[in-house]
């Protein structure tokens, strides 16, 4: 039984890659390379270190932006969940931010902060923050009232009830928000490199597209996706290790 999920996961990868290979060989579009070519291109780019160097550049605004969004976002969301006043003050801002088309905001960011690191960090934050804030807010608001009542009946102080009941109860939804925020942060980082100034992975994508080296372009794109999935998996592990011992033993 234990092997079955892994077998299914592997099968799902095989199916996707086979479909990719097939579509690439047809070809659906001359600009769409098969999976094998992309893999070879990725190997070359790792070997000549261009991929590694590009990642180093891209991950920087991403890491700063996601870290900022996570800290500030969870704090703001939790505060909004705990206090009506904070809710009235902040919720509309984040709902508008979540609904606003990012591409429309980027020119304003460039005007305000130039084309350097700061604008890119801001882009990541704008992408990642709303979903983190709103998820944290909802998680706190939906903490089971029966558990909170239990905390009161056993004489918990407000601080104890927040720390020992509300936050642990909210952690799954907060982490779901962090995962979505991380994925959105990746999108933000790449968008910033495509729209603000070409650096890192965004530069690789633009450059290889301009010289029609499509396997390398796709290798760059696929690297971002793989990395995003890896980080999200890590976040999952971190959550279970830190807050959800009961899910550890359920495995």
């Amino acid at each position: 039984m234990a092997a079955a999920p892994w077998a299914l996961r592997a099968a799902s990868f095989v199916v996707v890659f086979a479909a990719w290979e097939y579509a690439g060989r047809l070809p659906v579009n001359p600009a769409f390379p098969p999976f094998s070519d992309t893999l070879v291109a990725a190997g070359e780019m790792v070997a000549d270190l261009s991929l590694v160097a590009a990642l180093g550049v891209t991950l920087w605004p991403l890491a700063v932006g996601v870290a900022l969004s996570s800290l500030a976002g969870v704090a703001a969301g939790v505060a909004m969940g705990l206090s009506r006043r904070a809710e009235w003050l902040f919720v509309p801002v984040f709902i508008v931010l979540q609904a606003a088309p990012l591409a429309a905001l980027i020119p304003i960011l460039v005007l305000a902060y130039g084309v350097g690191l700061l604008s890119k960090v801001m882009t990541v934050c704008i992408m990642a923050m709303p979903v983190i804030v709103l998820n944290s807010f909802k998680a706190i608001r939906h903490a089971p009232s029966s558990l909170i009542e239990m905390g009161h009946s056993f004489l918990g102080s407000r601080r104890q009830i927040i720390a020992k009941v509300i936050l642990p109860a909210a952690s799954p939804v907060i982490f779901a928000g962090l995962r979505l925020g991380l994925a959105a942060g990746f999108i933000g980082a790449i968008l910033a490199e495509l729209l603000i100034s070409p650096t890192g992975i965004g530069d690789l994508i633009t450059y290889h597209q301009s010289v029609a080296d499509y396997p390398k372009m796709y290798a760059a794109i696929a690297t971002v996706i793989v990395l995003s999935v890896l980080f999200i998996g890590l976040l999952d592990r971190a959550e279970i290790a830190l807050f959800r011992p009961e899910r550890r033993s359920a495995r």
Partner: protein, 265 residues
């Protein structure tokens, strides 16, 4: 805590532990749940609240627990007016209210944890009560690994662990099958006989009420008033099967059923 200690002799003259005077509750939105309820709950006895669904039993229990405010009237426990939850009362929740991320041990010790009892002491106490409710060996299990009946017992052990004098039990046996329920009822009788604690018990089952109670308070339909108080005169020293066939038991069940029937239209 200045608790009044009774020095009077004789088991018959149980003084009230919980006094409810002129209690009314109107929920925001206008639902009138309780209307002018005056009741005493004698010390060391088990008093059951019985009444049609939605009549306000949970509301009454939660007001006594200090979890929701009354609209009018007052409640006192051990002679002191209730203004909020207190260490002399412990609640057993109908939906268990266990922390899913905490082990049985931490759940049972949680009341003590919130009170700031040291880890070693509260875990020793919790282990005793886990054993008492028959869950020895499950200290490190999580609630989702337990059956409904076992979770119910975790909730009971948590309430027992804080050693409150008044136990407020809201349909504590609702989630278990009939066999387990009967076992729990017998355990409850032993608990009432053994510890001198005062029990406020809510159930939907007339048979259960008659079997476990020293007093049964029948509540009318919403807005709830006390319609009748019955003290089943059942010899508690008989074995369970004899009690259930005792004429006093059967007659009391019938009497209550006749009393409640008129609320069914």
């Amino acid at each position: 805590m200045n608790r009044v200690v009774a020095l009077r002799a004789g088991p018959a003259v149980a003084e009230p532990m919980v006094e409810v005077r002129g209690l009314s509750k109107v929920y925001p939105g206008g639902v009138e749940a309780l209307s002018d309820i005056t009741l005493n709950f004698p010390k060391g006895k088990l008093t059951t609240l019985l009444g049609p669904s939605g009549c306000g039993k949970t509301t009454l229990l939660k007001i006594v627990a200090g979890l929701i405010p009354a609209s009018a009237g007052e409640v006192s426990v051990g002679g002191r007016k209730v203004t909020g939850p207190g260490p002399e009362r412990a609640f057993v929740f109908q939906d268990f209210a266990l922390l899913p991320w905490a082990t049985v041990l931490r759940n049972v010790a949680f009341g003590l944890e919130l009170r700031g009892t040291g880890r070693w002491e509260r875990e020793a106490t919790a282990r005793r009560h886990i054993e008492e409710v028959g869950l020895k060996g499950f200290e490190d299990a999580y609630p989702h690994q337990l059956s409904g009946g076992m979770r119910q017992r975790v909730g009971l052990a948590r309430a027992l662990a804080v050693d409150a004098e008044v136990l407020l039990m809201d349909e504590p046996f609702s989630a278990v099958d009939e066999q387990t329920r009967r076992k729990f009822q017998e355990d409850l009788l032993a608990l009432v006989a053994g510890k001198g604690k005062t029990f406020l018990f809510v159930t939907h089952s007339i048979e259960e009420a008659v079997y476990v109670s020293n007093r049964i308070v029948l509540l009318s339909r919403r807005p709830s008033r006390v319609s009748e108080i019955i003290e089943p005169d059942i010899p508690r020293d008989l074995p369970p099967d004899r009690i259930r066939r005792h004429s006093a038991y059967i007659d009391t069940v019938e009497e209550i059923w006749q009393g409640l029937k008129r609320y069914l239209e």
